[in-house]
Amino acid sequence: MASPILSLKRVNKSFGPVHVLKDVDFSAYAGKVTALVGDNGAGKSTLIKCIAGIYTPETGEFIFEGKPVTISGPRDATELGIEIVYQDLALCDNLDIVHNMFLGREEISGVTLNESSMESLAKKTLDGLSVRTVKSIRQKVASLSGGQRQTVAIARAVLWNSKVVILDEPTAALGVAQTEQVLKLVRQLADNGLAVIVISHNLNDVFQVADNIAAMYLGSMAAQVEKNSVNQNDVVRLITTGAQK
């Protein structure tokens, strides 16, 4: 396998007396979808929050594009090109798609917003992701379906030439057709050359979209394996017992 764009080595994180991450190793590869699976409380969310700079681990090494880095805040992660799409999407219903995509990082000319430049760039990004379901990118997010909202949230994450995109349960609240649509989008992201990390509880989705599967068990990385080398039963065993075979 090629060398990973992002790899974590022996990461430890505790909250008071609770040891949440125990010597966790994890890698993400450009152009690949890495699924992060594990039962509730296995430490998936803590791990991605460490990557996104929301938590700072006590010990452990971060290697990004071959160089050791320290991520001590969300801004550091953003600057490296790591974007996270939260489960609750974090979109403003009352703003349109363009404004949501640029929120907090608006394009300014003089003192005013550069609306046409933002709109063109937003359109280009959505076209690049082969999104055709959105009627107008000037419509309010309130009027979008769950799948379309997920699309906007993902498009916002890739707008900034990001290199690693982390998706937290992107299909959790979606129906069948919309899940399909979002998984296609996830695949598209990886095909565009990004490293994609997907947290999911749905093994069908994982097997459909992932190249790599990283399974966590009680705060440790049980295994990170290639999808083709395992079947669903193996993954279930990893999640529930942490045992390889």
């Binding site: 969300p74 801004r75 939260y86 999407l89 974090a90 979109l91 403003c92 219903d93 009352n94 703003l95 404004h99 929120l103 907090g104 990082r105 608006e106 300014i108 003192v111 005013t112 917003l113 609306e115 046409s116 430049s117 709109e119 063109s120 359109k123 107008s136 309010k140 309130a142 009027s143």
Partner: protein, 403 residues
Amino acid sequence: MSQDLNIKQSANDWWSKVKAGQVGALPALLGLFVLCIVFGVQSSVFLTPGNLANLLTQAAAVIVIAMGLVFVLLLGEIDLSAGYAAGVCGALLVIMITEMDYPWYLAFPISVLAGVLLGAVIGYLVAQLKIPSFVVTLATFLAFQGLLLLLVGEGGTIRIEDPVILAVENKNLSVSYSWIFFLLTAGAYLLSGLLKFRKRRKAGLVDNLFKLWVIKTFILIAIGTIATWALTVERSNNPDLVSLRGIPYVVPVILVLLVGATFVLSRTSFGLHIYAVGGNAEAARRAGINVKMVRITAFMICTAFAAVAGMIFVSRANSISPTTGGSSTLLYAVGAAVIGGTSLFGGKGKVSDAILGGLVVAVIDNGMALLGYPAGIKFMVTGAVLLISATIDAVSRRGASTT
């Protein structure tokens, strides 16, 4: 492809927006229209130029407070003390001019600055200490009332004789300046709109609202022409003695505030951040917006507008009294903003809507007074209109969330 989009399609787009709950200023506009017809038919005085000028000067202070309140309401907060903040700033203005002999051009900015400071205190308590704005401003409502009483003295009023301050509510632009003012305003509006659409065309973006904008602009300019004409008609009972014609000075004052506030809200990133914080504060925080600073600034803007309203109150009454900005002022202002289409839930509303809503409130007040209804009925009707607008807001939100 922008040429293919015809008028029917853009009207359809707009109608689907309305159905999706983005009714905006439509109910207020319809309400204003209906009210004007009803009062115009019932009262022979209502639609006269004299009453039109009267209406504008009556409504001015409440409208300005409402415009400032929009910033706070957009965040889903409220400022109950804006009325008395106007009183306090007005009192400071009067005291500086009459007792300290400050010129108006020094006293007025200082009184606005005082408003900004009052707003900063409120904003700090709300944003930093996270006390609900309802409670904070209830407290400052009482405190400002007391401060005003202390400044003015119990039972007393302080008269003001500064000609410039008095002119705002009592004098008019000359007829030729009225028309020049109208032409400049209309020209600037046309130009800014055309430039915006040209920029979009250049960038190769769809502009399906262009034809709708043309219609809107045409109607606005028609209304503006009629209003300017009506205001330049002689409205004095005794023209030989004193001529009374032209646009009241307070109109350009409000227009400058409107243009400034609309520019900030719709063209700058600060404005976008206000909408974002009002729509989803957590999303705004995650996007890297300084939510606290946005909140504090909104309260500062709100009380700065209140300070301007204080000046208008003073100009209209020729004096300041311990009740200036009290009684129903603030409630009328909140009512004006809500009737205009600003949502109390935050995230939705425009400054121009506050003007519309303020006119609705003023028309009810003025029209019913002309028809000889007692104050009791007036309050009840205004209350009912406010309730109707709040219902429209709540129902349209439901419509928006189910589509």
